[in-house]
Amino acid sequence: MRVAISSTGTDIDSIVDERFGRARYFIIVDTETGEHETIDNEAYQLSGGAGAKTAQMIIEKGSEAVISSNIGPNAMDVMEKAGIKAYRAYNMSVKEAVDLFNKGLLQEILQPTSKGHHGGI
């Protein structure tokens, strides 16, 4: 299964980014093989719709689950419709988050955890 984890840095030992839409990077891990790739989240500095755009990128990358600390309403809406499940990890490395995910220890995020953020328009 391909899992996308919001990350503050480019390698697997980086800390999970608390934000989803405005996370600087995503690391996509194949949980069977352990292979991973790092993706620049180009949506992170959009004035609006960053969550939705990020969710779109994750769909395109073929991810079946995401791990982050907070997910806003737009991203949640998109992922629900795309059938992607979201899990919560906080204050740990991407690697640790994946380990916990594999053991089934991460809590599923069922509702948006933040109201979303708005840029100045």
Binding site: G48, G49, G51, K81, A82
Partner: protein, 287 residues
């Protein structure tokens, strides 16, 4: 026609207080509430609403028979309003800015732009004062279409007193466009001064004459006077920090209607404003 816009660097500075009391002492004016996200002039003016017009914007509508889910529309959208799920294109209406990029880019001509209501404009009258209020439905990204529609109405108005949104957003830019005078309400605090500077920059950029009113005036007024002097901006009035104002305001009462001292203050203000506009029209501006 004269358009006088009342603005401020931030919310809660006293725009609506100044605007509503000012219209009460001016003859033949129209009060226009462009603070579309939180229009509350009507609390003080109690207008009788005679007409409500809906405001629409365009959002994409996809013809599923034509759409091949290529995702070009989704890539074209800078606001994340179209998401390609593979089996369908999901449209997030509330993120759409009506830029029509999706419509332009769709190679299959599968997108049309459909009307969606985003807000409304109420028109009415409050004891001799004409009243116009714009209101944006919550969650809509931009109130500019509401303000643009109000601006069309303003063209046929004699004297318009316009209550602007706070800050220096696109909504404010559109609200103060074509004003004859901008009145900047500020508080004599470092925060007030900071926000005032931003507002002054905007008004200067738009080349509109301006003047300042100090609300909740007190011992720190000098920081505002120093700044205004340096920038050649007139200070028209100081409104004292007065518990009576707060009490009446919280009850929705106009102080110019119940207190002679304040009535006189606003009458003086109205005279100064009319004079400033006349001078400007005659070409002898002094600021």
């Amino acid at each position: 026609m004269a358009k006088i816009s009342i603005l401020s660097g931030k919310g809660g500075t006293g725009k609506t207080f100044v605007a509503t009391n000012l219209v009460r002492v001016l003859p033949n004016v129209t009060y226009i509430d462009c603070d579309i996200e939180e229009p509350n002039g009507r609390i003080f003016l109690n207008p009788i609403i005679t007409d409500i017009n809906d405001v629409y914007t365009k959002v994409p509508l996809i013809d599923d028979n034509r759409c091949e889910r290529c995702g070009i529309c989704s890539k074209a959208c800078r606001f994340g309003a179209l998401i390609n799920l593979g089996r369908e294109i999901l449209i997030l209406d509330h993120l759409c800015h009506s830029c029509e990029a999706c419509y332009e880019m769709c190679p299959m001509n599968a997108i049309t732009m459909a009307n969606r209501k985003i807000g409304e404009i109420s028109i009415g009258v409050s004891r001799g004062i004409d009243f116009i209020e714009g209101r944006l439905n919550p969650g809509k990204p931009s109130g500019v279409p509401v303000i643009k529609q109000i601006n069309i109405l303003i063209k046929s108005i004699d004297i318009a007193i316009v209550d602007s949104p706070p800050g220096t957003s696109c909504s404010v830019v559109n609200t103060i466009e074509d004003s004859d005078l901008c009145i900047l309400v500020t508080e004599p605090t470092p925060f007030g001064l900071h926000d005032l500077k931003l507002a002054v920059e905007l008004v200067k950029e738009m080349d509109i004459p301006m003047a300042v009113i100090i609300n909740k005036s007190g011992s720190d007024n000098q920081i505002i006077y120093n700044y205004c002097m340096k920038n050649d901006i007139k200070v028209l009035m100081e409104i004292p920090y007065d518990k009576k104002i707060a009490e009446l305001y919280s009850r929705g009462t106009l102080i110019a209607e119940v207190d002679l001292t304040y009535e006189k203050m606003f009458v003086d203000l109205a005279e100064k404003i009319l004079e400033l506009i006349e001078n400007e029209a005659a070409g002898n501006s002094e600021w």
